[in-house]
């Protein structure tokens, strides 16, 4: 278990830093996690990915596969790796406040 401090609040995370409760998520929380993951500023394009991941999570209880993400969000594989370098699916999931992706692709 870990704790993430955002403003005055302390938020519960698992050992890898994923939020335990999605209800704790806010845009402010996203910015804090992004910084920890080495992303200084979340741009509009980051938000396209984050919002798509949350939509999928709400509908299916899990984040999308990379293929679905790139096909349906309008963000190409290349751009995705530029936005979230070194492990886009996991990084984006963490910032989006959803569970760690379980798929192999």
């Amino acid at each position: 278990m870990g704790v993430l401090i955002v403003g005055e609040k302390s938020i519960q995370t698992d050992d890898e830093g994923y939020l335990v409760n999605f209800s704790d998520w806010s845009k402010e929380v996203a910015e804090v996690i992004a910084k920890q993951e080495g992303i200084d500023k979340l741009t509009d394009r980051h938000w396209v990915v984050i919002e798509f991941m949350q939509k999928e999570f709400k509908e299916h209880g899990t984040g999308p596969s990379m293929r679905k993400l790139t096909k349906e969000s309008g963000v190409s594989t290349k751009e995705l790796y530029e936005l979230f370098p070194k492990g886009p699916a996991k990084k984006a999931a963490k910032i989006a406040g959803i569970k760690k992706p379980v798929g192999c692709v």
Partner: protein, 151 residues
């Protein structure tokens, strides 16, 4: 972060996919990935063949089809279609699309020079994602500081 180099030496659908999935998985985890295609594995990056790979239905006991049935015309196409259907459900892309995805994610794609010479292939025969035709020595130069997996 590690570097993972995967050698794909087989040209059947089931011989190629594990390496592709592992290379893509490495990239998704934030590692570097190199794919080295050799012998019949080259079919996976040859333009005219990459999307026509088939499952071997003979000499493949884990498929649970008796070899005598496996030799019947159409059996390989049938098994291939079934497997592709199941993979599509899991969002595993067709070979061509998968190679493109891996390349776009920063993975490197190489063809083995010895095999290219042996099969009299030209650079034009390969998909555009193929980065270079390299010798075994060049492959080792690129990969020895990381992990090497043979499939």
């Amino acid at each position: 972060m590690s570097k993972i180099s995967i050698i794909i030496s087989k040209g059947s659908l089931d011989g190629v996919y594990p390496g592709l999935i592992m290379a893509n998985g490495a990239l998704m985890e934030g590692h570097e990935a190199i794919l080295f295609f050799t012998f019949f594995g080259l079919d996976a990056i040859i333009k005219s063949r990459m999307n026509k790979l088939k499952v071997a239905t003979v000499g493949n006991p884990a498929l649970h089809i008796p070899s005598l049935i496996g030799i019947l015309p159409g059996m390989s196409s049938f098994a291939t279609a079934q497997m592709k259907k199941e993979m599509e459900k899991l969002d595993i892309p067709p070979v061509g699309e998968f190679i493109e995805m891996i390349h776009d994610a920063g993975g490197k794609i190489y063809a083995c020079k010895a095999t290219v010479d042996m099969f009299h292939l030209k650079k034009d025969d390969f998909c555009e994602q193929m980065d270079d035709i390299v010798t075994v020595g060049q492959f080792y130069e690129m990969s020895l500081d990381g992990h090497i997996i043979f499939t």
